[in-house]
Symmetry: C3
Subunit: 157 residues, 3 copies
């Protein structure tokens, strides 16, 4: 079985260090087989999509945010190979009021997850416009992940 | 026991064909006993609620979105009778900045779920204003559903 | 073991009566070990954060909203001591379009949860700007909580 890390190498992605949480929260919490990730927005731009930030730049920002989320999952679970499913993505775009292309922006993250995890990366999703964002980042993405417990992999508790 | 489909017939609702996802995502993902649905917004209007779209039109749009979500659940689970609970609704209204009646809008979906599922249709909910929406639809709704596994119904695995 | 109620007394918090839901929804739904709470916004202010409402006022509003959410959990589970983890917080701030300090606002709720529950109160979080809110409240917060079933506490079903 190909490891997720082989695929990351093949597409030239190196996991970045974890960004520190800005606020009194933590990156991720596990409950049962679900991992709830905190919203992230990581990349080179700030400002409103459809005005300060182009669709192409926003797509790239969503992809780099997805890479940061992979880094969170890697640190939290010890291995990305424990991801059994990307369940749900909530993509919040800091767009001008008449912006209409939120799906094309958040595809930057969704395309990445499918490249990296294959069919297990296909997820339910809501993409919507935020009225404003922390530090005026162009978007913020939160994810719910289903993972495999170690004793399920190893066959013992 | 009355089937959900009897109630749908009684109130004159026919499930529409599934709308295609606009973006690289899928309609729904199951994990454990939970079904996470992608956000949907389906109906006859576009524009800002409180300006281009009236409260009454937005309520109707929320109801037709709820019907589209029922269609997704039906296709995903094979039968709406497997729904054991509507757990959580997130209603995102594309409203003008001083709009205040989000609950009355999203009731269009909530009323439907309770008509169709009875007490199992009563859910926790957040209704809020989006800054913008895909294709300038008046609202988008996502839902978390609890369902019964077939082996739980049939008494065997 | 110190009860959550001892800590509430020590920091001078009295649980308020439950606010009635504004709309056709309920305060909370349980599924498995998870409690999904409806979004709440409770406090003394209305209007846009960054214009009508200051950062300090918004922080206080987030704290009083957190207290209202504690009241919901108390009523739903019978005891706050059954909370095993605050899993996820979604904080939606009714801010002006260039507002950037959402995390500092929602910390009002996050700080409270950690004061009250200790390490179990640490949660994943998304803080973002809404375009508008019900009744023009300054913010709305929804929470996912993990709880312990009574038979898990008592050692029998």
């Amino acid at each position: 079985m190909t490891s997720v890390y082989d695929r990351l190498r093949a597409i030239g992605i190196e996991l970045p260090p974890l960004p520190p949480p800005v606020g009194n929260y933590i990156h991720a919490v596990r409950t049962g087989n679900l991992l709830f990730l905190a919203g992230k927005g990581v990349g080179e731009h700030t400002g409103k999509v459809g005005c300060d930030v182009s669709l192409e730049q926003a797509y790239a920002f969503a992809r780099s945010t997805g890479i940061a989320l992979l880094s969170v999952i890697h640190h939290e679970l010890g291995s990305l190979d424990r991801v059994s499913r990307i369940v749900k993505v909530l993509g919040l775009v800091n767009a001008v009021p008449d912006f209409a292309d939120h799906p094309k922006v958040i595809d930057g993250c969704s395309d990445l997850f499918i490249e990296v995890f294959g069919e297990s990366g296909r997820h339910a999703r809501t993409a919507i416009g935020a009225g404003s964002t922390p530090d005026q980042i162009p978007l913020e993405i939160e994810v719910v992940v289903e993972f495999t417990h170690l004793h399920e992999i190893n066959g013992n508790a």
